[in-house]
Subunit: 151 residues, 2 copies
Amino acid sequence: MNIGQASRATGVSTKMIRYYESVGLIRPADRTDSNYRDFGDRDINELQFIRRARNLGFSVGEIGQLLALWRDRGRPSREVKAVAEKHVADLDARIAEMKSMADTLRHLAHCCAGDERPDCPILSDLSGTGTPGRQGADTNLRPRTTAAIDR
Amino acid sequence: MNIGQASRATGVSTKMIRYYESVGLIRPADRTDSNYRDFGDRDINELQFIRRARNLGFSVGEIGQLLALWRDRGRPSREVKAVAEKHVADLDARIAEMKSMADTLRHLAHCCAGDERPDCPILSDLSGTGTPGRQGADTNLRPRTTAAIDR
DNA sequence: CCTTGACCTTCCCATGATTGGAACCTTCAT
DNA sequence: ATGAAGGTTCCAATCATGGGAAGGTCAAGG
């Protein structure tokens, strides 16, 4: 199986397959005489594993840990669970941050007439001149870097 | 006010102030004879505006739009509201993606004994061998790039 | 046999927001 | 005058991903 076939079989782009190899997430694929990468069933399984883990938002580093545990037939499930729970906590924290931002903004937008007049509580809030009793945008919440979405 | 004072006054790092200038978000600051940047009240206000907008998760591009509207005393609040509502929709979409990931993973972790035994529904799911009736990790959801949190 | 098109290879570049550091200059207080 | 603190520019790295160039390989068909 060359890289294009492996890509189609796993839903991982050829670019990313090469990248995962370059960062050591998967071991270097075999090569044909003409220097084409040659993937076996085992590689395909690992790429599918990677894709599923990415779909759950795991970083490449975390996937490295998960792959190592997967390959280790004697791993304690405790370790896998720890990785998963830490990631869940990360996700929950980011969700909470973004929810707080969305709620604040929803409130401001709700208070904004949204017509031809220039008065705007959203801009007032951002400029610090708006109704100071409100929650305002002056929290130190910001979203956090994560990954990208499937095409 | 030099850049360090401006940074302390606004909570925007000196690095980011220079960056915002370089990308045209703020206009180039005045310079002293010794080539130090010199910020006035107006610059300070804009930097605070930017920080608040970042805290609400707006991208630099969106902040550019918001700043332009802010400077335009005759803008229709409709336009501001549109920018805000689009951003809320973006946030909500990302929240939904991440919530789906977290819920899936929470379920898997809940089903995982988390002890010394190697059997693990999390790895089973990732490897595609797990109880196929389940929601599984085979959705095409992934988080999306956003910004970072305040220091 | 040779061409064509589809595929592979490596290498470099760009993204977005942010931080870190090097090399060098300025200001201020001792 | 000397040193610390802080300014300046420029370059690099992060993370996961895609785009593209330049060149090698392969299979089908004329």
